[in-house]
């Protein structure tokens, strides 16, 4: 089972339906976690949502608790939550990407995707990872072709993954394939 933590976003159920291609999905609000279902889950997904990581202390505690114990995936806000809890700084960006379709490119740091492969993806984010960012475990594995903003992370030691873009958006081509790679990682 996949546990999807909803930060009261209006895209969470698109993600739920995408994940249901691979396993049963249980969705709950971030402030209303079902411990029993959480224990049964093999993967926990941190959903997109409004605001910034520090607005969700409960999710931050949960991330630290689950790190290394379960496979984790963060989407958009969830992606930022992972980085925020791993000493990353999340900042506003000059250009805002809401409902924006972009090309992103896989870097050689990726173990899941082929280097230089391009994806067309949908983006909904005001904030981004402030760089330079260094981590022993977390590698930035995709970037926006134009703005070079970090778009994906992989940590194969703790099995933690994240996408800044929305694999669930209708603007993303091959969203299912992107999730498939995480599922089989």
């Amino acid at each position: 089972m996949i546990y999807l933590i909803d930060h009261q976003d209006s895209f969470t159920y698109n993600l739920a339906h995408l994940l249901e291609n691979f396993d049963d999905v249980f969705v709950s609000n971030y402030f209303d976690i079902n411990d029993n279902k959480l224990n049964q889950s093999s993967m926990v997904v941190f959903s997109p949502g409004p605001g910034e990581p520090k607005d969700y202390p409960k999710s931050n505690i949960l991330y630290k608790k689950l790190k290394g114990k379960k496979k984790l995936l963060g989407i958009c806000l969830g992606f930022q939550q992972i980085l925020y809890n791993e000493k990353g700084i999340i900042t506003q960006q000059r250009k805002i990407y809401h409902g924006f379709q972009s090309k992103i490119k896989v870097l050689k740091t990726s173990k899941l995707f082929k280097e230089n492969k391009c994806f067309t993806v949908g983006r909904y984010h005001s904030l981004k990872l402030n760089e330079p960012y260094y981590s022993k475990e977390i590698k930035i594995t995709m970037r926006c072709v134009n703005s070079k903003v970090a778009m994906a992370i992989e940590d194969h030691i703790n099995k933690i993954f994240g996408f800044q873009f929305h694999p669930d958006s209708f603007l993303t081509k091959n969203g299912k394939k992107l999730i498939q790679k995480i599922i089989s990682a």
């Binding site: 209006s10 809401h98 409902g99």
Partner: protein, 406 residues
């Protein structure tokens, strides 16, 4: 006994004080009247209404067996647990549903179907003696200066990621007591949008030329048809030019994309995984003063989804709120000083077999206690300007404001 022909009867009905509803059909109009029941719906009785009152209706009226009415904005918020702080409020009911016994279909001919044996016995159908009057000038609740200030506040919230898009509501008001049937037909002459309707009750009326269908449920199938994107119509524009404008305009596209993903999300809550599809992406519909950018999304309902689940998942309709829904509703409710009333609620019907059809109440006028109120909203996203959106609000209100000109 006085018996009138159908046309005479209908005219007599329109000139009387009898409560009635007119709803645009795909061809012509349906008139609902002879209400045997009207229920004020609240958070506490909605469950009973949907799961008991409706389903226990005995099938007697072959043409229409169910209730028709509206859910106001406040009730839609109540249902999903979004609180509304104290606002200026005229105590207009949150939601009313009516059970019609007579349906009159206005097509090429007029047909009447009623379960009442003596419906044409028109002793009580006397001409109204109400004193109708109206002003043709309106006051706006937000000046451009006030609007710009709110616009700036919301733009900051977008920069901070608190909301991705937000629709700020503006109201035009005057002192009027309308002959609502007359005004409805005046509006229909110039702008008979597909979701147009009139509710005329003893103490209020609602007139709307809404273009937007929020949901239609037939058996286990459901669709929604969100609108996002407006292009002003002039003598130089055409449907084709509007299509080119929308397709090439990054701002309109981004705004529309967001609404499409949001509506996919809302419908996914109640549909089986893998059944939610965009069946028609980004097409243009033409109206009297403007063009709209539209998408159609369909899905197959989960067996476990009740009509109340559907209402909670879809209402209030996302395209007139902003995104993401919950946080944006909270922002709107904290900064809009006037109650939205019916605006961005939904009008439509629920049949006893569970089928439903609801629009989004926009381009609408409420006449209550001699006050006439027209609400409009347009989207704040970072690429827009206060001036442009303020102007867009006026374009949206125009066809309603125009019916007050003689």
């Amino acid at each position: 006994m006085i018996l009138l022909n159908n046309k005479e009867y209908l005219n007599r009905l329109f000139e009387s004080d009898k409560p009635l509803i007119i709803y645009k059909a795909s061809i012509g109009y349906d008139v609902y009247t002879d209400f045997s029941d009207s229920i004020n719906i609240t958070k506490s009785n909605i469950d009973k209404f949907i799961n008991k009152t409706l389903t226990s209706t005995k099938i007697r009226n072959k043409l229409f067996d169910g209730y028709i009415g509206f859910f106001g904005y406040e009730l839609c918020c109540d249902l999903i647990g979004v609180k509304i702080p104290k606002q200026k409020n005229n105590r207009f009911p949150k939601s009313i549903f009516y059970k019609p016994q007579t349906i009159i279909k206005i097509r090429k001919n007029i047909t009447i179907e009623s379960i009442l044996p003596n419906f044409k016995y028109v002793k009580d159908l006397i001409k109204t003696n109400k004193n109708f009057f109206y002003e043709n000038k309106f006051n706006v609740n937000l000046s451009f200066k006030q609007y710009s200030k709110l616009f700036k506040k919301f733009s900051l919230k977008i920069r901070q990621g608190k909301t991705y898009q937000i629709k700020l509501c503006q109201k035009y008001r005057n002192i009027s007591n309308l002959d609502s049937v007359k005004f409805f037909w005046r509006l229909m002459k110039v702008n008979s949008s597909p979701e147009s309707f009139l509710i005329k009750d003893k103490n209020y009326s609602i007139i709307s030329c809404s273009p937007e269908t929020l949901l239609e449920k037939n058996n286990n199938k459901i669709f929604t048809k969100p609108i996002a994107g407006t292009y002003k119509k002039t003598s130089k524009t055409s449907l084709n030019k509007a299509k080119i404008f929308f397709d090439k305009n990054e701002k309109e596209n981004k705004e529309h994309n967001m609404i499409v993903d949001m509506e996919r999300n809302d419908i996914s809550k109640i549909c089986k995984a893998g059944t939610v599809k965009i069946t028609k992406l980004k097409f243009v519909e033409e109206y009297k003063d403007l063009y709209h950018y539209v998408t159609k999304i369909t899905g197959i309902l989960k067996k476990s989804s009740t009509n109340l689940d559907i209402i909670k998942a879809m209402m209030p309709g996302g395209s007139v709120i902003g995104c993401p829904k919950i946080n944006t509703l909270n922002l709107l409710n904290s900064l809009e000083k006037d109650s939205r009333n019916i605006f961005t609620g939904s009008f439509g019907y629920i049949k006893s077999n569970g089928d439903m059809h609801f629009n989004i109440i926009i381009r609408a006028l409420v006449n209550y206690h001699d006050i006439c109120e027209i609400s409009v909203a347009s989207g704040i996203i970072l690429d827009s300007t206060a001036k442009k959106e303020y102007q867009e609000n006026y374009i949206k209100a125009k066809s309603l404001l125009d019916i007050f000109k003689k």
